[in-house]
Amino acid sequence: MFELYILLIFMIVGAIVAVELKDLLSSVIAVGAVGLGLSITFIILKAPDVAITQLVVEILCLIILIRATLKKDLPFSTSGRWLLNTSIILGFVSLFLFAAYKAIGDLPRFGYPIMRVADTYLKQGLAKTGATNIVASVILDYRAYDTLGEATVLFTAVIGVLTLVRRVGRKKINEKVDPEDE
């Protein structure tokens, strides 16, 4: 437990640094440090599958963020109806806090899950699916609809990015597009 607390404090500090820094590149690197802490946390919690995925996605997102944000400024808006915005935020925060207070009271303590559904998966997973990796049997057999939804989300995201970002999509009227930078 002790090392978990160290990692949690490290991740919180990294997140605050990432938000507060003015330099965009340093901020992206701070986000990467938070992701590294999270992936080590997954290893300590004995979830190597999630740790591998977290690590590789973190690396890829870091590269994409660095390539996409370097030498570009983000618009920063501070003006506007601050009273309305603040009251809406406060309302939603108190609503979520109330819901979380109600919901968390019913949960078992940390490390003692109910495991009614998971118990079936753990006991019958190997016999029913033949996969020795329980995570694979859950995401691709018991919960395959979920994976299908994730794959659809990613597919839609790729189509959206390619449609918005490619040169043909951003050309002006009557402008010829070089097939090289499509």
Binding site: D49, L126, A131, S137, I139, L148
Partner: protein
């Protein structure tokens, strides 16, 4: 010196890349093919495969990476992965319901076990790898016209 060696980063980076890029690709294939036996799976394996091509692109420039994995191939793999995943799911109707594990289970701890799960892993890794590489290409090849955008 061929034309490929004129672009990209320094000689040190290129030499190291030439040694490591194949190993990264192989590691991705290992992670995805052992997804049902050991920690890993289609998503992580696909991202590692995409990373090997991105690694090549960062070191050698876009031409070297796009020569090995052209845009046509990327869009083919992206669509093929999605359709393969759906087709495996639909084939479950031969036995009764969507996503039925209709293949024989095999012996645990063997590579050829777990029915449709390895096939689903391969489909997902094709989809994820091609999709993430496509997003990376789209974001890096993006050119702004010096502030005249949106006017």
């Amino acid at each position: 010196m061929s034309k490929e060696h004129e672009k990209g980063m320094s000689v040190i980076v290129k030499t190291i890349t030439r040694l490591t890029v194949g190993i990264i690709l192989l590691f991705g294939i290992y992670i995805l093919s052992h997804g049902h036996v050991s920690p890993g799976g289609g998503f992580a394996g696909g991202v590692i495969i995409a990373l090997s091509f991105i690694h090549l692109m960062l070191a050698y420039g876009k031409d070297a990476a796009l020569k090995r994995m052209p845009k046509k191939a990327i869009s083919f793999f992206e669509g093929f992965g999605a359709i393969m995943f759906l087709a495996i799911a639909l084939l479950g109707f031969t036995g009764g319901y969507f996503f039925l594990n209709f293949l024989p289970k095999g012996e645990p701890f063997r590579l050829f076990s777990a029915g449709i799960i390895p096939l689903c892993n391969i489909a997902i890794s094709l989809k994820v790898g091609a999709g993430l590489f496509a997003i990376f290409i789209a974001l890096t090849l993006l050119k702004f016209d010096g502030g005249t955008e949106g006017k």
